[in-house]
Symmetry: C2
Subunit: 424 residues, 2 copies
Amino acid sequence: MEGVEDALARVMADPRREEANRTALERITSAEAELVRIAPASELLGLKPGEFLHSGPPLTWERASGPMRGALIGAMIFEGLAATPEEAEEKLAGPDISLAPCHSRGAVGPMAGVISPSMWVFELRDPVHGTTSCCSLNEGLGKVLRYGAFNEEVQTRLAWMRDVLGPVLAEAVESHGPVDVKAYLPQMLQMGDEGHNRNRSATLMFLRDLLPHIVRQDRPADDIAEVCRFVGANDHFALNLVMPACKLAMAAAKDIPGSSVVVTMARNGTDFGIQLAGTGDEWFTAPANTPEGLFLGSYGPEDANPDIGDSAITETAGMGGFVMAAAPAIVRLVGGDVAFALTTTRTMYEITLGEHPTLQIPVLDFRGAPIAIDAVAVARTGVLPQINTGMAGKVAGTGQVGAGLVTPPAQVFVDALKALAERA
Amino acid sequence: MEGVEDALARVMADPRREEANRTALERITSAEAELVRIAPASELLGLKPGEFLHSGPPLTWERASGPMRGALIGAMIFEGLAATPEEAEEKLAGPDISLAPCHSRGAVGPMAGVISPSMWVFELRDPVHGTTSCCSLNEGLGKVLRYGAFNEEVQTRLAWMRDVLGPVLAEAVESHGPVDVKAYLPQMLQMGDEGHNRNRSATLMFLRDLLPHIVRQDRPADDIAEVCRFVGANDHFALNLVMPACKLAMAAAKDIPGSSVVVTMARNGTDFGIQLAGTGDEWFTAPANTPEGLFLGSYGPEDANPDIGDSAITETAGMGGFVMAAAPAIVRLVGGDVAFALTTTRTMYEITLGEHPTLQIPVLDFRGAPIAIDAVAVARTGVLPQINTGMAGKVAGTGQVGAGLVTPPAQVFVDALKALAERA
């Protein structure tokens, strides 16, 4: 990578670095993740009317891409702050609406990642490091808010999720007690899921675990049956549990002076941003790349929006593209072939500090997943983190157009290392 | 293999063989498998009081091994035909009890495979070839009848399965309509299950699919919750669906004159038996080998009974040991290492006629599973089919002692080819 030599030399000469990175690795791998509560974002994230969270680094309405605008429009309508898309757009461009990254509240959201006060969210807790992370509930595929759709179908589903799904799951979790989400992750790797675009096994395990606590609820049988059907029919439902579990792992490594470990990779559809353990809350951003992969129906490359979503927290925490070897069937969704999946995982060891003690990849003789991306290693090798991702249509309201493969812009690592060098 | 040369030459010279084997392969791969009914064996298999089905080739009480005796004793008590194990043994040795292989009724049963009239069974149908196959409901692990345990705990569970589990699932299937079990199989191979000793994903998919039809039933919430908990807590529950699905595939290839395809591999704890497509209902048997593998708790090799169960129907139909490459985590259960799992699948292509069009193994670039064991190829290569299996304690009443790897005795292929040669 160009222009990084001086910074790299200074970072590598920092006597704190080795110990700092060792601490980061230890914290990341020791973090736990328990689902403890499900409630509206107003309650768990303190969101006020007119406040919206979104994926990726900070963003203004003016710079927002189509799917991000679509999701914000949809959330405005859902919150009753606008009656029409036009009214929503006008208000979103005005001074009374506030936008902030999910990550700024320790939260994460897939794709547009828009969270508004009335949406119910999962709250996961890491009892080891005392942190929490929230994530929205997954809407399924097709016309969904997170891909930028905002029509009647989206609104009806969001209302049902608020009125039925959220309360039913919340009561089930309360009855069950904390759900050990971290324990799902190694099992997922034994069951062909990489946790970013394949979450089938975790979805089914989560449903299985809550079931006895769902079916005993004193509610209409139709509501109970629909909750079971909705969760079971959405292979991605557990993505929104895996993401905050990954966020908790990475949050554990925040604010370690001298550490070159990447603790956040996130995209808002316009910019790709990263954060390092050694540089606090500072974002290093550059224009997001556009994924390449496989398209739904008649959509093609010209329909795809640049990379979007906080879901790259999975790769940041050693899941997703980093463990493609454990999920070879993923290539039928995101493109590439099985050899690519195996090679990708093997290559990720070149830019990570360690192998995860419990996230093991069976087909690689149970080798631990490549964990803790070292920005120094990225800069020295030129190997970029591999991300599997969904692709949103670039026109607001479209929804999903495909799934594919993408990498961060190299510049973010250059800028991050320069900032780290200044603190060395 | 010794003593088989003449028979082999005659079988290979049979002008019908090539076309017969092509027909067998086509029938096996085109068979469907739908779960259509769940009801007592008295109804679906016409079992009368005192009639018991068991796994493997035909067997008398005198020659029955410990776990088979244990299971039969348990079934006698369950049916109210004996009050004590001693009374059961006495009657089982007498003239009023009749034993027959599950396979003789187109049924299959794991381990001891004992089915008695009051036990509820799955009925699967192959609409393409117009056949049906039944299998018992899976009891879970630990002290269970199929591993030869018969104590109070076993009896209580069997009674609950008869009074609650069976009726609840039966009503759910009736409400749902036919459940496409064949459709689970390719998904299992994408989710790390080989369908013999790993059935986690199919169990969860089955539970997911029936759920909306379970939760709407007008029954006590505790019963509904317990059914959900019981099925979800037993990773092997779907074995008893995969087995009859495999049986239907192989039943489709029965009675094809001249075909050297193996349509049955089954063990009764004493003998290992096979049947060929070209030799009708004739069994070719030899003493069963004893599996080698990993043991539970303080059990060791001296506790293991010889190979037992109809579950080798999975390998016969290209699942189980034949697709270990798709389920590398299985080696932590049955022994061996990941390289062994990959090599085993590759080796099984040497003794099979084709590659299954829909059962694809992702990690082998979606190559179809090795399907349709050719007894000629077994004899010519000396490669024996690889079976993954549970291990029963050899003393009646013990239960499971481990899981491991086993092959058929070579002699059964020699004898089968001799019989086929006589018909050439």
